[in-house]
């Protein structure tokens, strides 16, 4: 692989920008190479690769912002990008909340974010891994049709700002996923499993294939359930997407501090039981959501977000921190070279409880075991009305048949208030997130 120089084009853009009397600016360039194996139908059907480069500029003048980007690092294109961003900054209007962009800080490098094996990966190896995943599914039962794939990438980026920030980033990632579909007459058994990490050794394609097939077969014979109010037991795959990711997203950035999310008023308020603790930690070695610096060059650091059920803090980038006159917590998320910088969580870690999943099920007279769902609320109001994508009826402490066409509705904060049990076991996602299973006392369900 040829060495990619991101520093020279960034420096060129910085020099051009220095001639325009702007108040603040930053330049971000990135390179990525990705390999993908597509699985469709009977198995592997396509191998793809792509190389992407680009440069983006953010310019501030009189508290107004101009942004421009290009997928070319040629000098003429960089000049066009700079001139457009400068012109836009002049045409935009003062944002009274804008206080500036961060200066430089030093942080110890988070180890284990780049894996040489992924950097040098070939499509042949990627195909072999995909084949192993399919074979693991077929070891459970043959005859499925599949949808899924393997994806791996290597990303390099460089950020430099007028305030002295100068940071580089190099990461790798790899992911596998598969959805087997079995049919018996008009009955369908299908499910989905995935894994992702920084390195090939961090993922287990055989486990993914085998688990997906086992879960798919369990879905035969799904039935409708009548409307009612019942306890929900959310497995880690559902608790993360339904509870914790939504809460931390609603506590992040300008929407949170400007009072535009359901969590805006939660600082120092009790949201869940005393046993609930949530940490955000972007410094975990070898985790996909870790980085030494955030998207504005501020060092990542562990942040206790919920302790004894009480919300302690928002997750800030420099803009939202400026509104509250506090320091950035290092949660700026830069969406590549297109220039947008928001805020959001990194690795979310929920403290394990003291129940086992078996106990949770055994103690449930009638309820739903949710194996896959995203109970995504309206981020402004917090109210949700969502489908339970995959789950099972529990009766008299036993897992019964899979359910279909069943919806849950309510307010996300009622789900948190209703947390009755947190499991001691859980699942680690991407080498960093940790979500346990969670039992919620009672949720309104719509069915037959």
């Amino acid at each position: 692989m040829a060495e990619v120089d991101l520093v020279t084009p960034v420096e060129k853009a910085m020099r051009m920008l220095s001639r325009f009397n702007m108040d603040f600016y930053d330049v971000f360039a990135s390179y990525s190479r990705s390999l993908n194996i597509s699985i469709l139908g009977k198995g592997i059907n396509e191998a793809t690769s792509h190389v992407d480069i680009g440069i983006g500029v953010r310019v501030f003048k009189n508290k107004g912002m101009g942004v421009a980007f290009s997928q070319s690092l040629e000098v003429n294109d960089i000049e066009t990008v700079v001139k457009r961003a400068v012109g836009f900054a002049r045409a935009s209007q003062p944002d009274p909340y804008f206080k500036g962009i961060p200066g430089p800080s030093k942080a110890p490098e988070v180890p284990g974010l780049c894996d040489d094996e992924v950097v040098n990966l070939t499509l042949e190896t990627a195909s072999q891994i995909s084949k192993e995943m399919i074979e693991a599914a077929e070891s459970v039962r043959r005859g499925a049709m599949y949808f899924g794939g393997f994806n791996a990438g290597h990303v390099k980026a460089y950020l430099k700002s007028s305030t002295g920030v100068s940071v580089g980033l190099e990461k790798t990632y790899v992911s596998v996923n598969i959805q087997p579909v079995y049919r018996e007459g008009d009955d369908v058994g299908s499910s989905y499993e995935f894994d992702y990490g920084i390195s090939l050794s961090a993922i287990n394609p055989q486990w993914v294939g085998k688990t997906a097939a086992e879960k798919a077969i369990e879905q035969f014979g799904s039935k409708k359930v009548e409307s009612g109010s019942m306890p929900l037991i959310l497995l880690p795959e559902a608790s993360g997407t339904s509870l914790f990711s939504n809460l931390l997203a609603a506590l992040s950035g300008e929407s949170a501090v400007k009072g535009r999310t359901f969590a805006s008023g939660l600082l120092n308020k009790q949201v869940g039981p005393e046993s609930l603790e949530v940490l955000d930690d972007g410094t975990i070695p070898g985790a996909v959501a870790s980085n030494t610096y955030d998207g504005e060059g501020v060092p990542r650091r562990p942040l206790k977000v919920v302790e004894r059920g009480v919300v302690l803090t928002f997750l800030h980038n420099s803009y939202s921190a400026g509104i509250m006159n506090v320091e950035s917590t290092g949660h700026a998320i830069r969406g590549g070279y297109s220039g947008y910088v928001g805020a959001g969580p990194s690795n979310i870690r929920v403290k394990p409880g003291d129940s086992t999943l078996e106990e949770m099920i055994a103690e449930t007279r009638r309820g739903i075991l949710v194996t896959r769902a995203s109970l995504v609320p309206n981020m402004v109001s917090g109210e949700f009305s969502s489908t339970i994508d995959e789950g099972f009826l529990i009766e008299n402490g036993e897992k019964k048949h899979p359910v279909k066409n069943l919806m849950a509705g309510g307010h996300i904060l009622d789900l948190f208030r209703g947390i009755e049990l947190i499991s001691k076991e859980g699942r680690v996602f991407g080498g960093g997130h940790f979500f346990p299973a969670v039992k919620i006392r009672e949720v309104k369900l719509s069915g037959e």
């Binding site: 912002m65 294109d77 935009s92 209007q93 409307s227």
Partner: protein, 463 residues
Amino acid sequence: MKDLLGKIVQKGLSEGTSFCEARYFEERVNSISVENGIARVLSSGILRGIGIRVIVGGHWGFASTNIPSRESIEKALEDAIGGAKSITSFAREEARIVEVKPSIDTVVHDVKINPEDVSPEEKVKRMLELERDARTFSDRVKDTFISYRDIVTRVIVCNSFGTLVEEVTPRTSIYCRVIAKEGENMQEGFEGLGNVIGYELVEGINVEDFSLKAARKAVSLLSAHPPPRGTYPVVVDPRVGGLFIHEAIGHNSEGDLVFSGQSIISDKMHQKIASQLVTIIDDPTRRNYGHFIYDHEGVKAKPHVIMKDGVLVGFLHSLESAAKLGCEPEGSARAQSHHYPPIVRMSNTFLAAGDMTLEEILEDIDLGIYLSGSQYGYVESQKGQFTCKVEEAWLIEKGDLTEHLRDVAISGLTLEALKNITAVGRDLKMEMPGTCGKSGQGMYVDAGSPHFRIDSIVVGGRR
């Protein structure tokens, strides 16, 4: 560029590919974000590159590059061929395509006002006018946002059938979002417009139908109630209807999901799977947000009838799905950019008009729910289970709209829901310009319907 693409295709053939496609993609984007009377961010970007797709030994390979030099494109060709060869020992799903007659054409969609000819200052002035009316509508309006975007997409497709087509498509879109607040209660209103059109879209906006409408919706939702839960008859407006058609049947009719066993209707061709009132069409030739003349495999687009009087009559096709399902491709393969291979996508998908008025559709419902405005939806096509999240709703009592409801969603099973459509209105509208996600690719689409009634569907509620 066309000469270069042609040379690359010839080189691909000389190196043993049985099919070679070189696709140039360029997109220029300008956007403005207004928040509470301030044009906070103006931005602009250029995406540009080439995607090469080949079949070697019955296997697909694809590679892309951002650098439009011959050397870089030849490297992408080498990578694509290498990719196809890399799966030779592992591939089980053969790459097979329909051979089509070559097309040679250039299409440039005309607009009245080229957005790139309008200065940023003039655009900002107009955005602020539109936003001001929403902001000053009520003291309960907390926040107002306008997002404006103009895009010009240029695609050149060159392939080993001899096809060489270029299409330049301008799209303009604008969205207004309003947050209203009363005590701890916060609600949102949303309006969006978009089409294959120039800046005349923005000049022609009537605030009453756009930003004021979003503000009115947000404020009125403050006093709306949570919906009841259970199974109800529902009547959907053209936006919810469009979302329903897109999710419940549109994705299921995509040929790649059909041949790969991921569609609940894969074995239902020529069967009656919906009520007699259901005729569903996907029509890229209509001038809506999903409009195009040639797809990204260079196939000239035609209207596709998916369902006729309740009978499944057609799927949407790429060259590959047409070959595997024994059909003719009619132009449904598109790619988000040069970095992605074309896959089967919907364009402008709609339920054809019937002959009833809204009053007639409502009149014999004792207790039901009227659903209005779409937020988002998704489907698990292999199971045929779909979800549609709507903006607002009203209780229907004895044929009249009564209690105002908020945060409503419906969930259904495709094969049940289509049979339960028992009344279709005459007022077809396409009002859902947006982006549909599939396999990691976003694509411009539109959808619509007349008002129609579904006799029984699960409504997610909180009381």
